[in-house]
Amino acid sequence: MADYEVPELKEYPVVPLPVEGTMEHLSPFVAKPEFQEALNYVGKKIEKEGEMPEYVLVDGWHDKAIEKMGDLLGRYRGFQVFMDSCVKCGACTDKCHYFIGTKDPKNMPVARQDLLRSVYRRYFTFAGKFFPKLVGARDLTEDVVQEWYSYFHQCSECRRCSVFCPYGIDTAEVTMAAREIMAHIGKGQKYNNEIIGKVFTIGNNLGLPEKALANVLEGLEEDVEYDIEVPVKFPLDKKGADILLVTPSADFFAEPHIDGLIGYAKVFHATNTSWTLSSRASEAANFGLFIGSYENMQRISMRIRTAALELGVKRIVYGECGHAWRVGYSFLNTLAGPFDFLDQNYPVPQHICEFTLDKLQKGELNIDKSRNDDKTVTFHDSCNVARASGMGNYPGGQFDIPRAVINAVCNNYVDMEPGTTHDATFCCGGGGGLLTDDLMELRVKGILPRASALNNAVNENGVTHMAAICAICKSQFTKVLPYYGFTMDQIVSVHQLVSEAIILEGQVDPED
């Protein structure tokens, strides 16, 4: 199957000894110039007879890169401070799932930052200009750019290292800066940048046009009605609806995402909530985050504002998506606000888990928990929800609220071991714009810490299913956990569990 070894699951966490260069061969495909230009970046193609064309650095790339770095240093305080304040204490060195899974020391957070910091020091600091060897500074060469391209696409921007850093240095910010610099000299990543292009031209990451989306939703209505004989609606572009639901486009067809979408619809149906999806904002995901581009992130966010205005909704609710929730919770107000035209009695935006828990607590949902008794469920805290956003009105709500939803619809729930949950959660291994087949080796190795924790929960607590509230986590898990002996259907959406347990008025269950 693959020309690399799938790591072995161990009962106890093992911090590997560094083995240099294990992952230097891996880097994702480069974006074509036309996709680069659509995002206001640049690219250069060299045609080769009888071969695939090559996408190379643009002319004058060296000075352009340094100039871009200077620009970012002046516009992002985090980036500037993080370049200066690392003392190389080593606290982060054993925290990255990609280091644990690959053993490559350049996947240690500080070493990853140093790929960029060494160049920062050379061009922007006194010590690096005059004593480069002493302080580990180096010139920017084509090899350095290649190294950046490889290892800054081996970081999922999950921020686990930042939790443990005594100075709060956030490798995600450094990775984003590096990707932004590379995009400006012709080294954009194909997966991310082509997807953003699709959002601009078609409206969602999957390139699902309005008509196809309408068909999918119609089909869903038929399926659900066939199943339970209740006409649960999936409205699209319904003007005057109360709620605009923005959800990752994976929810429209991928498993187990779609079962989550059915869950949201059932909750809305049961509570007589008027809601709609939007063909303009048919995507919650915002890959502008992954490439560290404020401009592209804002441009993608503007679709949601425009849709909310056009449809005349009162509220915006986000479906289950990790990084989308980061952009929604932490940035949407800044990028596309102010949302003074929406109902101020509700947070803007609101997470579907916040919405559902509120309805559960008010007793507006008819729940039969025993319908999930065939499962023992655990919950994977998605990194962007856990460490980069919040829920509810107190710090840590993002941990309690999804668990409270699960516990309200399931009798059997256990957490995975401490150190692998809450703000210390391990990334699924596919976040940050790495959910692409050309990085499969990294995804298989990077899932190791999560797979180990899940395996222990299976062996010790009889866990059968792992729930998640992130489209990327769900896709990564269903694709990669089978390498470790798990099955795809062990991964569930949180609202899939809600969907199973909820009983709608007039519902007729199919005979087993």
Partner: protein
């Protein structure tokens, strides 16, 4: 010679304070365009002050991260603070403007804590150095300057300890104090004759010069990290940088928003 040292120490102090202030000003002037606190994060300014205090005083994140690094690092920094306070007796004139602090500094508790702290300072640094050499991951990320800085501060500590604990290295501290007070009023006095003292002072001056141009910038950096010092209220409050305001003016004009 004594005058040279006075000038060197003054220059180092000015360079250090000026350099740190310049950096702090640069950090303040650089906008943080997005809310990026590592969550769960406090929802109030008071909460942020508490969060930073826990980081600065107890190294809370490091404690969670790695107990060995925390023990050695915290021991070193607390000892450094205690030793620093002990040293204030050389620059505070009991009859001068800051004389009211004098009883706080010149008492047996502060002085003996400061004196014995020197031992733990060196031990802490030795632990950090050992970790840097012995742990393969930390060795991999260490540049020559990382070792040199530990050694620099260690030698400062050892030379200081010698003047407190080794009778043959004892110095005339009354004379040293008049040198220090004289230096501060540009009335240069003689330094006590001592090789150990000269080493101590030379390296302190080197440290002053190195600090603002090195990773020792973690001192202002820890206060300016947006991941730690931001209030987590993005849904309640719009947070917009000056440079981003310009983008707000054109954000409605993207072609896909008009169809």
């Amino acid at each position: 010679m004594s005058t040279l040292y006075a000038i060197l120490l003054l220059a180092a102090t000015l360079f250090m304070l000026g350099g740190l202030a310049r950096k702090a000003r640069q950090y303040r002037a650089t906008p943080a365009p997005l809310k990026i606190p590592v969550t769960p994060a406090p929802k109030t300014t008071g909460g942020v002050v508490l969060r930073l205090a826990k980081e600065v005083i107890f190294f809370a994140s490091l404690f969670r991260s790695n107990k060995w690094t925390w023990i050695f690092g915290w021991m070193f920094h607390v000892s450094l603070a205690l030793a620093f306070v002990r040293h204030l007796r050389y620059v505070i004139d009991p009859d001068g403007m800051l004389g009211f602090i004098w009883p706080l500094i010149n008492n047996p508790i502060v002085q003996s804590f400061g004196k014995y702290a020197g031992i733990f300072l060196v031990l802490g640094l030795a632990g950090l150095l050992a970790r840097r050499i012995l742990v393969a991951r930390v060795r991999y990320i260490s540049a020559p300057s990382d070792y040199l800085m530990l050694i620099l501060i260690m030698v400062i500590g050892i030379s200081g300890l010698m003047m407190s604990f080794v009778p043959s290295a004892f110095i005339d501290i009354v004379q040293l104090k008049s040198f220090m007070l004289g230096m501060l009023s540009f009335d240069f006095q003689e330094l006590p004759t001592s090789v150990v003292l000269l080493i101590h002072l030379t390296l302190v001056a080197v440290l002053g010069f190195v600090l603002p141009i090195s990773k020792l910038l973690h001192i202002p950096g820890v206060f300016y990290a947006p991941t730690r010092n931001q209030v987590d209220n993005p849904r309640e409050k719009r947070h917009i940088a000056d440079w981003a305001k310009k983008l707000d003016e054109t954000r409605d004009s993207y072609p896909e928003l008009r169809d």
